[in-house]
């Protein structure tokens, strides 16, 4: 069961249908095809579930017309998108306007190739998997700029500028918080990082990076940076509907708009997959007695939980202001991640020096907590009871 | 494998294109871009020589390029900040028009 898909692939490869020369190509295709099918399908489901979840959070029912419980809403939305007219503004830069969604989708699809979905289920086991992930991901900023600039629309340009500033600012904490894991794992390969998180302490507690002080702090920082990097609420001001209409893709309609939408969600999935591999133990089961379930099941279960939290956050938090966003990135996230690197080193060397586990926890966790409290103080809003001169 | 000559030729042409751009373009930003191109041509040479050299396991060329990339990034940041400062002062980024020395 665990190796179901791997065996399936080998079985299909063993057919005599393919000439030997074509085998590598077929093998690659068999790896690519599931990614191209599974994740867009997940995107479709996620849009429906997100709308239903947001509805429930706001005491509404959410979409419930198309299909049982509205589950086919994505098909209706998709059909609507595809049949819409594809409008290119007259003043737009036609080539760039066309290229922008393509440049967005391709790198994101590429970034799926280094994530381990299960035991021995990784499309490409790169030596520098994380570096590849971030290198490829940096092209999305360019695509956002292309979309915003080529539309020849001030809202689009504003959205693109906001988005690029935000993505550059939050890429730092994102990368530095992943760096702690790389530092302690001693490898850039995601497969090895996941394998190192296998095994159970005292037979039941999984040895995920999450269950260390630096891992917990790192995961939270990574999570917040992920929200910003994928333009999710509360950091969705690049596409703030109420301020700049829809940000960089105002001038897109029909299928190209759908591609932007798809790209955003695929980016979210990819970066969540990275977070799962780095901090949440990848495809490892959360309890020792649950290892009989297949590894890929655990990966996708964790992904589903993360996505549910994303929806939950979207339903809860209001949007940040641009200056709050930048202050938070540079005055809170960056110092915290840098401190986290130091704490991770301290954790490692205290382990080498043979300290007691509880002592290590207290010291490392204490340092992080004190820094969190001190740095977070300037971000707390002091709500005082408002007094009115005339209204009372 | 492609002969080393091909890589060197490509790097030489890239360097010349970058040099030509840096010398003939009006916009200061493109002058900077030309300099970046020249740096990249040099990097390509480093990597090619490292790969074709006698001791690829020594990693000298790779290290040089890693540092070169870091320094190029720093240079781009400072250069663009300078261009911004110049733009604020002269309201232009064209190199021909920035000639006064008094502030």
């Amino acid at each position: 069961m665990d190796q179901l898909f791997v065996n399936l692939k080998h079985w299909i490869l063993s057919w005599s249908l393919w000439p030997d020369a074509l085998k590598p190509l077929v093998s690659a295709m068999l790896t690519i095809a599931p990614i191209l099918v599974v994740f867009p399908l997940m995107f479709a489901l996620m849009t429906v579930i997100e709308r239903k979840g947001l509805g429930r959070i706001q005491n509404r029912l959410g979409p419930n017309r198309v299909g049982p419980y509205g589950i086919l809403q994505f098909a209706a939305d998709g059909l609507k998108m595809l049949t819409k007219e594809d409008i290119v503004p007259r003043a737009a830069d036609r080539v760039l306007h066309f290229l922008a969604p393509v440049v967005l989708i391709v790198p994101i699809m590429l970034s799926f190739s280094v994530i381990p979905y299960g035991r021995k289920m990784v499309p490409v086991d790169l030596d520098a998997g994380i570096l590849f992930f971030f290198a490829v991901g940096s092209a999305t900023e360019l695509s956002i700029f292309m979309a915003g600039w080529s539309s020849h629309n001030k809202y689009a340009l504003l959205g693109a500028m906001r988005s690029m500033a935000q993505m550059i600012s939050y890429e730092m904490p994102l990368i530095i918080s992943s760096l702690t894991v790389v530092m302690l794992a001693g490898t850039l390969s995601l497969v090895q990082i996941v394998e190192q998180q296998g095994g159970y302490l005292w037979g039941w507690l999984p040895q995920w990076n999450l269950f260390t002080p630096w891992g917990l702090a790192g995961f939270l920082l990574f999570f917040v940076a992920t929200l910003a990097e994928s333009n999710r609420s509360p950091f969705d001001l690049p596409e703030a509907e109420s301020e700049i209409i829809a940000g960089y893709f105002v001038e897109y309609s029909g299928f190209k708009f759908a591609l932007f939408f798809l790209g955003e969600y695929l980016g979210l999935f990819a970066i969540s997959g990275l977070g799962i591999s780095l901090f949440l133990g990848g495809w490892n089961a959360p309890l020792g007695i649950l290892t009989w379930l297949p590894s890929w099941f655990w990966f996708f279960a964790k992904l589903a939980v993360l996505l549910a939290v994303f929806i939950w956050i979207r339903g809860t938090l209001p949007r940040l202001r641009a200056d709050q966003l930048m202050n938070f990135a540079w005055k809170f996230m960056l110092p915290m991640t840098l401190l986290n690197v130091v704490v991770a080193a301290g954790w490692h060397y205290s382990g080498v020096a043979g300290w007691n586990l509880i002592l290590r926890w207290v010291v490392c966790g204490g340092v992080i907590l004190v820094a969190y409290q001190q740095l977070g103080r300037s971000f707390e809003t002091k709500v005082t009871k408002r007094t009115y001169r005339y209204a009372e | 494998m492609t002969p080393l000559h091909a890589y060197l030729l490509l790097a030489a042409l890239l360097f010349s294109v970058g040099l030509a751009g840096a010398l003939i373009r009006r916009s200061a930003i493109l002058v900077l871009v030309g300099i970046e191109l020249m740096l990249n041509a040099a990097n390509l040479n480093f990597i090619a020589f490292w790969r074709y050299g006698p001791h690829p396991e020594a990693l000298g060329g790779v290290m040089f390029v890693v540092f070169s990339i870091a320094i190029a990034a720093a240079e781009a940041a400072v250069g663009l900040a300078l261009i911004l400062a110049i733009y604020r002062h002269y309201k232009t980024t064209e190199v021909d028009e920035v000639e006064g020395m008094k502030g």
Binding site: D127, A128, L131, A135, S138, L142, M146, W149, L157, M161, M164 | M1, T2, L4, A6, L8, L9, L10, A12, L13, L14, F15, S16, V17, G18, L19, A20, G21, L23, I24, I29, L30, V33, L37, N40, N43, L44, I47, R51, Y52, P54, P56, E57, L59, V62, M63, V66, F67, A70, A72, A74, A76, A77, V78, L80, L82, L84, Y87, T93, D96
Partner: protein, 173 residues
């Protein structure tokens, strides 16, 4: 790991990559619209990174994309937008363009002639070599630790310097 030495011909992949790289560079240096120039520059960077990957320098190839496409290109784009120089209205080339072009052409001819006259080995000595990321990291932390620290200092200095340079001058107003 093929024991047979590969023929020393210029492969089609190399031809395509070098064409893309050079065409991107030429376009980046000659187009009128600065934003187009930067995007062509990105194409060049991408082509160069592919060449690095073909030369078995995995780490450098990825770092090239990471730094140049992800950071330098974005920086340049920001500079273009902040200085409102996207659309060039006047002439593209500076007054001394003929002299500049001549110098560049002379440099090109010199370099090409020099390369043509030099006797270089056509194929690498070791058929397959990888620069594993681990080794690069080890080398950075052991033999090259002093340059690494100096680079870190330089980057910090550049960060602060760039921020100060780009800060609006409050005293003058």
């Amino acid at each position: 790991m093929q024991p047979i030495p590969e023929p020393t011909t210029i492969g089609p992949v190399f031809l395509v990559l070098s064409f893309v790289t050079l065409a991107g560079a030429v376009a980046a240096m000659s187009l009128r619209n600065l934003v187009h120039c930067v995007l062509c520059l990105v194409v060049t960077f991408g082509g160069l990174s592919a060449l690095y990957l073909r030369l078995d320098a995995e780490f450098v190839g990825l770092a090239q994309i990471f730094v140049y496409v992800g950071a330098v290109a974005i920086l340049i784009v920001f500079a273009i937008l902040l200085t409102r120089s996207g659309e060039v209205l006047g002439g593209v080339f500076s007054t001394g363009w003929l002299a500049g072009l001549t110098v560049a052409a002379l440099v090109a001819v010199t370099l090409v002639v020099a390369i043509g006259r030099t006797d270089l080995r056509a194929a690498p000595e070791s058929a397959v070599v990888k620069a594993p990321v681990r080794q690069v990291g080890d080398a950075l932390m052991k033999e090259y630790v002093v340059p690494l620290e100096v680079t870190a200092l330089l980057l910090t200095g550049a960060l602060i310097g760039a921020a100060i340079l780009a800060m609006p001058d409050r005293r003058s107003k």
